[in-house]
């Protein structure tokens, strides 16, 4: 994962833009999904019965871009042109421009209802396709998350899996508390995992669909800025790009981490 973390840092430095800690927070989850779980690849990216992944917390786009590039959806060097005028890789992902991106997201609380729509469509079509959606704990402040959680339960969308990147960034604003319990009270199956333990993530994601008629929530406990110690849980980095000196230091931190 170190080379992916480095590419995230380098791309943010090049653009002087990006939500780097959010991207690092989701990286293990997105990697396990594309490497081990999703029935999708760059060749059959538009297959009707493909599994779909929606990154609802679109500000973490760099975490998705580096994984899509690694899986051959587009060249890795394109990520390093991120956010430039010539690039199709913006600060938030655009489904009409980026190969492999299933929904344009950025305004929080939009991607999850879209994922519910995908799941409903999959049920209507009697398709085996599964839908995975990654949301943030801050995003759980949005009413659409809970509206859509009700819809998914009501319509028995057991093909839908919602992964919460629970890096506790919202604790300073609006504490969302025990999210597993909240999803259970909305009629979902729910488990909590370590969002940086790839083996544990793979084991739990392989269980989806976990129930014959209930959707599945995976609360992934994560660290914002994971893998770069001076960024971890440091709100100063939420939306800030490194200087040249900082980049050198951060790259060293990545290299010597774990």
């Amino acid at each position: 994962m170190k080379h992916l973390r480095k590419r995230i840092l380098q791309s943010s430095f090049n653009a002087q833009e990006g939500h780097v800690p959010s991207a690092l927070s989701i990286l293990d989850i997105v990697w396990v999904l594309y490497d081990k779980i999703l029935n999708i690849d760059a060749i059959k990216a538009k297959d009707t019965n493909r599994d779909r992944f929606v990154l609802s917390k679109g500000q973490a786009s760099l975490g998705l871009y580096v994984v899509l590039a690694e899986k051959g959806f587009f060249p890795g060097e394109h990520v390093e042109q991120y956010c430039s005028q010539e690039s199709y890789l913006g600060g938030h992902p655009d489904k009409n421009q980026v190969p492999g991106v299933e929904a344009s997201t950025g305004s929080l609380g939009h991607g999850f209802p879209i994922a519910v729509g995908f799941a409903l469509a999959s049920k209507i079509n009697k398709s085996p396709a599964r839908i995975f959606c990654l949301i943030g704990d801050g995003e759980c402040n949005e009413g659409t998350i809970w509206e859509s959680a009700m819809l998914a339960h009501h319509h028995h969308l057991n093909n839908l899996c919602c992964i919460v990147d629970y890096n506790h960034s919202t604790d300073r604003a609006l504490v969302v508390g025990d999210l597993a319990q909240k999803f259970r009270s909305f009629g979902w199956e729910a488990v909590t995992v370590n969002g940086h333990n790839q083996q544990q993530l793979e084991e739990v994601l392989r269980k989806h669909p976990i129930h014959s008629n209930r959707p599945f929530a995976i609360i992934a406990e994560t660290i914002k800025g994971y893998g770069v110690p001076s960024m971890e849980n440091n709100p100063a980095w939420h939306h800030r790009a490194p200087t040249a000196d900082e980049l050198k230091q951060l790259m060293n931190e990545i290299e010597s981490y774990g």
Binding site: A103, P113, I114
Partner: protein, 296 residues
Amino acid sequence: MANMRQQFVKTVSDVMRDDRRLVALLGDIGVWGFRDIFKEYPERIYNIGILEQSTIGVASGLAMAGFIPVIHTIAPFLVERAYEQLKLDFGYQNLNGNFVSVGGSYDYAALGCTHHCPGDIGALKNIPNMSIVIPGTAEEFDTLFKQAYKDDSPTYFRLSEVNNAVSQPVSYGRAHIVKTGSKCTVVAVGTMLGTVLQATADMDVTVIYYTTLRPFDAETLRKAVGINPKIIVCEPYYVGGIAFDIMDALKPMPITIEHIGVPHAFLTTYGTMAQQDEALGLTPRAIREKVMKFIA
């Protein structure tokens, strides 16, 4: 003759039987009207509940998976509450969805400001690829919906509680010249046509009728106006909604233009639609006076 809401049920039911891509999401209104469709196609019609923002998001997911969604609820909740979802999930992603409202302007006059929506057209015009359709009768809705619902872009249909007395030969994306005269051109939008025709029955004026506001038919407007650029616009929502379209269509011709529509102010009184029309100067008599003054 069916009213627009009854026609909406019939038209959408007809299309659902012919086109298996159509999926209807109802915001807990119109459910009884669709009772037969609920039995026939339970997998393609949902009383989705009272959660407009998520409804639009869910509909966009359905659209991306190949379905053609029809979303139906009351105008302020469909347009103003779920505006960002309309803008991003359908507009920016450029998806086909059909948004059918009731209760635009002050159709529900007695229910007060929460249920008024004269701002829907102005708001939706700020979504660059949103088509906007305002039929004047039930029959016109049927024609326009069947022509437009498959378009690869979002479309807003504004149903009204009051219909024009006579249907016109409407076509999606085209304006229709109802009568020609020499003193000025009266542009009538949707349900204003009936009022305008009464107001100008014996006047030597051209009346051009718009049921599609976007795409805007500039060509027919130029033909209607000819060389006399005196125009008076009658709109059933906040006044000035198509002012730019008209001026842009006729440039560089210098024009004299007057606007009649719902004033930009909150309505703080109740009563009936007819009483509000009277109070706001949108009756045949009031419009007649304005047109006569304009052409004097």
